[in-house]
Symmetry: C2
Subunit: 243 residues, 2 copies
DNA sequence: CAAAAAAGTTAGGCTAGCCTAACTTTAATT
DNA sequence: AATTAAAGTTAGGCTAGCCTAACTTTTTTG
C-alpha cells in the first residue's frame, strides 16, 4: 500500500533567466485568458484552447509548476503565480502591440493581424515592441479593442457588457470584439460592427433568436452567439424611443 | 560482410507544402552563404556557422537531401538544389527586408537589426515582408549594403573588392560591410565607415599591418582583417595623388 | 607512398513536446 | 450511498534536433 505522501512540488522555483519557449508562452497566455489572470484554469480547457490532448497538458503543467510559473494541485487545475502572470502579460502586450502596429503602420486588415502576431510575439524583442508602440502613439487597445498591458504589467480588466445582453431600445458603443476568426471578423467588418461604432438594439426574437440592430443607418440582424462576442459600453438614454 | 550497396537516397523528393522549420531555414541560409548559391558547402563549415557539432550537420544534411532541398554525396559536402536555393533566398529576402524595415521605419541602429531579423525572419509571413518592403520604398539593399533578393528569387551577386585590396592612393565608395557583430558595427559606425561613404587608402603598413585611410576629413587606420569586411566600389582616378 | 592529420560519418543518448491507451480521481445522477 | 460520467493523470511511444564518442574516409605531408 502506498503512503499518501504529500506530492507538493519540492522545487523552490529555480530562477532561470533563460527565455521561455514558444509553447510555454502559449500555455501561459491560455491560462491567463481562462482565469483572467487570477482564477484557476482546468486542464481540459487549456487543452482545448491550445488544440492539444489533455495528457499533454498534464505533463507540461507539472513542468511549469516546477519552474515556479504555476501553482498546481493535482486534479484541481492550475493558477498563475505572480511570476507566471507577469510572463503571460508580457506576451500579451507583445501580441497586442504587434497587432496594433500591423494594422496602423502597415495597413493590415483587422482579420489578419491575429495570426501574424501569434507568430511574431515569440520572436520580437521588448525593444522592438516598445518602438512599435511608440511609433503609433502608445496605443491603449489593439484593433479588436482588447486592452494592451503596460510595460510593467498593468491591464485594464474592465468587464464589458455584450451586445447579447443589451436591452431592446438601448444603444451602446462597441468597445471590443472577442473573436479572432478571420471569417467572423470580415463579416463583422462588412456590417461595420467594429470598435467605436454605435449600435442600437431594435428587437430580440424569442427563443435565443436573432437580434435586430441599427448600425449607423443600416438595419440588420445577427445571431446571439455572434452578438455575445461584441462587447459594448451602454449609452445612457439616447436612442431610446421616447414614450 | 556487408555489400557496398548504393546508398543513394531512394526518395524522390516528396513535395510537401509544410513550412520549413526554423533550424531547416537556418541550414539552408548557411549553405547558401557558403556556396554563394551554387557552390558546395563543407560539413564542418556549416557546423561552424551554425555553432553545431559536425555530427549534427551530417544527420540534418541527409534529411534535407531526402526532402529534395540538397544534393548530397557522402564525404563530399552538399549543394543546394533549385528548390533549396529558392527556399534559402526566400529566407534571405525576409531577413534583409526586415533589417531594412527595422532601420528605416523604426529607427533601429544598424548594429541591432541583424539579431532581431534573425528571429523575425522565421515568423513573418510573405505578406508582411512585402508590406514592409513597399512601405519603405522597395529597398534594394539592407542597412549593411547586402543585396535583397526579389520576390522571385533574383539576387545581385556582384562580387565587390574589399578595402584590404584597394591600392594605396585609390578611393572607393563603401558598398557593403560583411560583418554582423554588433561591436564591430558600432565601431565602424563611429568611424563613419558605412555604405555610401567614400574612403581613400593612404597607406598600408607591411607584414599585414594596419591600413591608413581618410573618411571624409578624418584620417584613421584599421587592421587588415577588419578592412576585409568592408567592400568597396573603386572610384576611377580621383583622390589619386598627382605626380 | 605510407603515415599522420583533417574531415566526415555512424552509433547511441538526451530533451522538449507531443500522442494514444489505460487507469484514477472527482463530480453528477439517481 | 452507489453508480455512472466527466475530468485528470500516468505509462509508454514517437519525432526533431541536438550531443559525445568511436570509427571511416579523404587529404596532406614527410
Amino acid at each position: 500500500m502506498v503512503a499518501r505522501a504529500k506530492q507538493r512540488a519540492p522545487a523552490v522555483a529555480p530562477k532561470k533567466k533563460e527565455p521561455l519557449t514558444q509553447p510555454v508562452e502559449d500555455y501561459l497566455k491560455a491560462i491567463y485568458a481562462i482565469g483572467k489572470g487570477t482564477g484557476p484554469a482546468a486542464t481540459n480547457e487549456i487543452a482545448q484552447r491550445l488544440a492539444l490532448a489533455p495528457a499533454s497538458v498534464s505533463g507540461m503543467v507539472r513542468r511549469l509548476a516546477d519552474q515556479g510559473l504555476l501553482a498546481y494541485e493535482r486534479y484541481h487545475g492550475v493558477k498563475l503565480t505572480e511570476t507566471g502572470r507577469r510572463a503571460a502579460l508580457r506576451t500579451l502586450r507583445r501580441h497586442r502591440v504587434i497587432e496594433a502596429y500591423l494594422a496602423r503602420a502597415l495597413g493590415m486588415s483587422w482579420d489578419r493581424v491575429h495570426d501574424e502576431a501569434e507568430r511574431l510575439e515569440h520572436a520580437a524583442s521588448d525593444e522592438l515592441v516598445d518602438r512599435m508602440a511608440a511609433t503609433i502613439g502608445e496605443p491603449i487597445v489593439d484593433p479588436h479593442g482588447a486592452p494592451i498591458p503596460t510595460r510593467d504589467g498593468a491591464v485594464d480588466e474592465t468587464e464589458h457588457m455584450s451586445l447579447a445582453e443589451l436591452a431592446v431600445g438601448k444603444s451602446g458603443t462597441v468597445a471590443r470584439v472577442t473573436d479572432e476568426d478571420p471569417q467572423v471578423l470580415r463579416y463583422l467588418g462588412e456590417l461595420s460592427i467594429r470598435p467605436g461604432r454605435q449600435i442600437t438594439v431594435k428587437a430580440r426574437a424569442p427563443f435565443d433568436g436573432p437580434i435586430t440592430l441599427t448600425v449607423g443607418k443600416q438595419e440588420l440582424s445577427i445571431g446571439p452567439a455572434l452578438a455575445a462576442h461584441v462587447l459594448v459600453i451602454p449609452v445612457r438614454d439616447r436612442g431610446v424611443k421616447r414614450r
